[in-house]
C-alpha cells in the first residue's frame, strides 16, 4: 500500500498540472484591510517570493494559504492535487516561531512532528543529518542557538514531505552556511516538483518569481 501511494503522489507532484492558485484575495484583520483583490498562480517547481514593506500583509498571505486565517473574499486552491484535502494539509508552515519545546531533545522534537504530521516521510535521523544537527540530536532544544533552532525547523520540512512550503522570513536567523544549506534544500524541493511561497526581505539564493504586495517598499 505505502509504496504505491508514494509513487502516485510523486507522479502528481511532477506533473505540470499541479498548481497553487489564489484568486481575488482580500484580507481583513482587526477591521483593517491589509490587501484586496490579490491574485497569484504558482506551478510545480516554482518559488514565489512575496515582498513588500512591513505590514503589507506578507505573513497574512502565508497564513491565508495555510488556512490559519480566513480570507474575507477570494479562494485558494491546489489544482491537480491527488486528494481533495485543502492546501493547509499539504503545506509546511515555517513561521517566525520555531515550534520547538526547549525541554525536549533535538531528536524528540523532530520525532514528534514526524509522527504528528504523518504522510509520506523520511527518517528523522537522516533529516537531522541533512541540516547538520545529527551530532547534537540528544541535547535539549533549549541549548540551541537561534540559527540552530531554525535548522531544526528546517529538518521538519525534510523529514515530512509536503508539496507546498510556506516560509516566513526563513533565512532571518541563519548564517551564511545555513542560508546556503537552506538554498540547497529548497532547490531539491523544487526539483522534485514542489512549490515554495516565501515572505522575505533578503534574497533566498534560488530562482524565484516575485509577488510584491502593498506597492513600493
Amino acid at each position: 500500500m505505502q509504496p504505491a501511494a508514494i509513487t502516485e503522489s510523486r507522479n502528481v507532484m511532477e506533473s505540470a498540472a499541479f498548481r497553487l492558485v489564489g484568486r481575488a484575495l482580500t484580507c481583513i484583520r482587526g477591521g483593517r484591510e491589509i490587501f484586496a483583490d490579490l491574485g497569484f498562480s504558482l506551478s510545480a517547481g516554482e518559488a514565489l517570493a512575496v515582498t513588500g514593506r512591513n505590514g503589507a500583509g506578507k505573513t497574512s498571505l502565508l497564513r491565508l494559504i495555510g488556512g490559519l486565517l480566513k480570507p474575507a473574499a477570494g479562494t485558494i486552491v491546489l489544482e491537480g492535487s491527488p486528494d481533495e484535502s485543502p492546501p493547509a494539509e499539504q503545506a509546511h508552515y515555517l513561521g517566525h516561531r520555531d515550534a520547538l519545546k526547549p525541554a525536549l531533545s533535538v531528536a524528540e522534537n523532530l520525532r514528534f512532528w514526524h509522527a504528528f504530521l504523518g504522510g509520506e516521510r523520511d527518517s528523522p535521523p537522516a533529516a537531522l543529518a541533512a541540516v547538520g544537527l545529527d551530532h547534537i540530536a540528544h541535547l535539549p532544544a533549549g541549548y540551541l542557538s537561534a540559527g540552530q533552532k531554525r535548522r531544526l525547523s528546517m529538518a521538519r520540512l525534510v523529514a515530512v514531505r509536503r508539496p507546498l512550503w510556506l516560509l516566513d522570513e526563513p533565512t532571518s536567523a541563519l548564517d551564511t552556511a545555513g542560508q546556503a544549506l537552506f538554498a540547497t534544500l529548497m532547490t531539491d524541493h523544487l526539483a522534485k516538483g514542489g512549490l515554495i511561497v516565501a515572505a522575505t526581505h533578503a534574497p533566498l539564493g534560488i530562482a524565484t518569481r516575485e509577488l510584491r504586495i502593498g506597492g513600493a517598499a
Binding site: P102, A103, G132, L133, H135, L139, P140, Y143, S145
Partner: protein
C-alpha cells in the same frame, strides 16, 4: 563558566573524594550505636515503648529545621558573595531536607496515633512541620521550574531567606491558633525534663542523623557539580558547528 569558577568546585570534588568514605563510615557506626542504645532504652512510665519513636522523630524534626538553616546560609552565600558552591549547596540540601521533614511528619503521626486515636491531629508542633514541608516542596518546585541553575539559584535564595524570616512568625501564629482551639499538645519533648536513659540514645541518634545529613549533602553537592559540568559541556557541544 570560566576556569576560575571551576577552580573552587574542583577543589571541593577532590576534598569529597577523600572525606566521603570516612564520613559514611562514621555515620554507619554512630547509627548502629544509636539504634542499639534506643533498642536497649527502658520504657517510659507514661508512653510505654512508643517513646522509642522519639529517638528517630526528634532527630528528623531537628534536621528539618537545621537543613533550612544550612540553605539560608547558602542563600546568603549566593546573594552576597555569589559563591558558585553556595548555589550547589542550597540546591543539593533541598530534597534531603524535604525527606527529613517528611520523616518527622510520618514518625510524629505514628507516635501520636496511640495517644490521639487518629493519625493526624492539628497539633501545633506537627502543623508547623507540615508547613515547613510545604515550603520545602515549593522550593524544590522552584528549582525545577527554571532550567538555568544560576537564575534558579537567585530566586531560590530569596525564597529561602524569606522563609527563614517567616518560619518563626508562622510557628508563633500556629501555636497561637492552636491554643485558641484546644489545650496544649499531648506530646512532651522537653529536653530538660528528659531522663538520662532517654537522653543518651536521643543525643547519639541526633548526632548520627546530623552526620548522615552531612554525608548525603556532600555527595549530593558532588552530583550537582558534575551535573553542571555536563550541562556546560553540552552547551559547548551545541555551540560547535557540525563538521
Amino acid at each position: 563558566m570560566t576556569l576560575l569558577d571551576l577552580a573552587n568546585p574542583t577543589r571541593f570534588l577532590s576534598l569529597t573524594a577523600k572525606v566521603l568514605p570516612w564520613l559514611a563510615a562514621a555515620t554507619a557506626i554512630l547509627l548502629a550505636v544509636g539504634l542499639y542504645q534506643s533498642a536497649m532504652a527502658p520504657d517510659d512510665y507514661q508512653q510505654g515503648a512508643t517513646v522509642k519513636i522519639m529517638f528517630i522523630h526528634v532527630p528528623n524534626a531537628w534536621l528539618a529545621m537545621f537543613v533550612w538553616g544550612v540553605m539560608s546560609l547558602s542563600a546568603l552565600g549566593t546573594l552576597v558573595w555569589r559563591h558558585p558552591l553556595a548555589d550547589v549547596s542550597a540546591k543539593a540540601a533541598a530534597p534531603i531536607g524535604a525527606a527529613f521533614t517528611f520523616l518527622a511528619l510520618v514518625t510524629g503521626s505514628l507516635w501520636g496515633r496511640p495517644m490521639w486515636g487518629t493519625y493526624w491531629e492539628w497539633d501545633a508542633r506537627l502543623t508547623s512541620v507540615l508547613i515547613l514541608f510545604l515550603m520545602y516542596l515549593g522550593l524544590m518546585a522552584l528549582w525545577r521550574a527554571v532550567e538555568d541553575p544560576t537564575r534558579a539559584a537567585r530566586a531560590a535564595a530569596v525564597l529561602t531567606l524569606v522563609g527563614a524570616v517567616n518560619l518563626p512568625i508562622i510557628k508563633f501564629s500556629v501555636d497561637w491558633w492552636n491554643t485558641l482551639h484546644q489545650p496544649a499538645s499531648v506530646m512532651r519533648m522537653g529536653g530538660s525534663t528528659l531522663d538520662k536513659a532517654f537522653l543518651i540514645p536521643l543525643l547519639t541518634m541526633a548526632v548520627a542523623f546530623s552526620l548522615l545529613f552531612v554525608t548525603l549533602h556532600m555527595a549530593a553537592m558532588r552530583n550537582e557539580i558534575l551535573r553542571r559540568r555536563v550541562r556546560s559541556l553540552q552547551m559547548m557541544q551545541a555551540g560547535q558547528q557540525a563538521a
